[in-house]
Amino acid sequence: MRGLQRGSIAVVGAAESDLGLVAPHTSPVDLMAQATMRALDDCGLKLKDVDALFVAATQVRMGPMSLAEYLRIKPKVFDGTQIGGSSFMTHVAHAQMAIQLGLCEVAVIAYGSTQRSVSRAAASPREFNPYEMPYRPILPISAYAMAAARHMHQYGTTREHLAEVAVSARKWALLNPKAWEKEPLTIEQALNARMVSYPFTVRDCCLVVDGGGAIVLTSAARAKSLKQKPVYVLGVGETLSHANISSLPDFTVTGASVSGPQAFKMAGVKQKDVKMLSLYDAFTINPILFLEDLGFCPKGEGGRFVSGGAIAPGGKLAVNTSGGGLSYCHPGMYGLLVMIEAIRQVRGECGERQVKNCDVALAHGNGGVLSSQCTVIFGSENTL
């Protein structure tokens, strides 16, 4: 039996840490530990049950060690793969490898950031690149802005299309009590907001807030005996292609065109089976690109696809029902929270923003400057 097996592991616990603007001197590891214990309480497991730890955070150089120290546990399996915001999706794949091989039983993936409290520059310093830094792009914003500009040039995508993504996210956020943004947003307001890196205004860019989360995964067999309805990992896919935007060959195509098909193939589902999409919306161009590259609309049609409230509450396709990185929460590396909303939808916990019969949810993570793309497809017991 080769390769990762559909449904061999399940998410049994999921929780956010405190979000938004936390108390002074809170450390990212405080948030990781808080989220870890909330996620363990969620499934009724204890710290002593945890034998695998997956951590990546820009503020914590050696993630697994720092969290293992704080919790005072000694995991048998650990991984600190750091590929940006999608790291946590890759951690799911690595946890699945380890659990399937019987190397561990209970895996925790955790993240925390205090980037709002300490400033984004302090939380995510960039290494010097002599071929980019002299030009003073605002990174990562300018990289994504240039991708949007190219998409607009090649496919006729407009600033209004980008604003539709922001407005849709805000509508979902107003249904989420945990969302940072509490006020409605119109297309006009999004277009007229302060310009940051053309074509992006501040409303095209994700929030800069504190936050974190944790999920607990175990074997499908063990999952059945725990408190929550298991959310099975049906499929995973991942790819990485570059570190700096100068090395991206085509600014209109992302690696989701590679990771998506991998995940769909392993999960044995098609786009029409997916009831909810959690797409890493660091910028408004992201959902447009990912909807195309994951096969939900043809390449180049993403802008037109998201128009007219198509991905807003009551629309054609439920995307980023939490309010997304644009309106709910984006603590620097956002992939864990992307997955938590998909997991909650499959469990049926989303209250006012719940998608009916959400048996299959897709979570897509993006890292760096469109650099890494990882897809995880979750399913309820009905999909086994």
Binding site: Y131, Y135, P137, I138, M146, A147, Y198, S246, F251
Partner: protein, 129 residues
């Protein structure tokens, strides 16, 4: 093979810039140009690489205008050079918002000083593409 005890890829690149030249490398096995400068050719790992001096002409592939608080807007663009490689740069001598995808541009050196290395910038080349 680049002898990293004697000279680095960035070091060679900067030496050319100090002479007013934009230099790039070619994989002699495949005749494909690549950028940024490396010790080995990407994709094949070949040591059979050659430095060349660019004619300095390229086309804007994509562009943005950056707004830092309290500063005039700044152009940042990706330039596709005629020799077949791409680099990030800035198009000068033009209103940043007037820089358009498809515009032809030509290289000039932004000189370095005791704090910073020289680097390539571009100006509009006049011919349409």
């Amino acid at each position: 093979m680049t002898d990293l005890m004697k000279q680095s890829p960035l070091g060679t690149y900067v030496e050319h810039l100090k002479k007013g030249e934009l230099a790039y490398q070619v994989n002699k096995d495949t005749n494909k140009a690549f950028f940024y400068p490396r010790a080995i050719a990407p994709e094949t790992g070949s040591a059979n690489i050659e430095w060349r001096v660019s004619k300095g002409l390229g086309t804007v592939y994509t562009t943005t205008v950056v707004h830092y608080k309290g500063e005039p807007p700044l152009n940042v663009a990706m330039i596709d050079m005629d020799e077949g490689y791409r680099l990030m740069s800035r198009v000068e001598d033009i209103d940043p918002v007037q820089v358009k995808i498809g515009m032809r541009v030509k290289f000039k050196v932004h000189p370095g000083d005791d704090k910073a290395l020289p680097y390539p910038v571009f100006t509009p080349a006049g011919e349409a593409k």
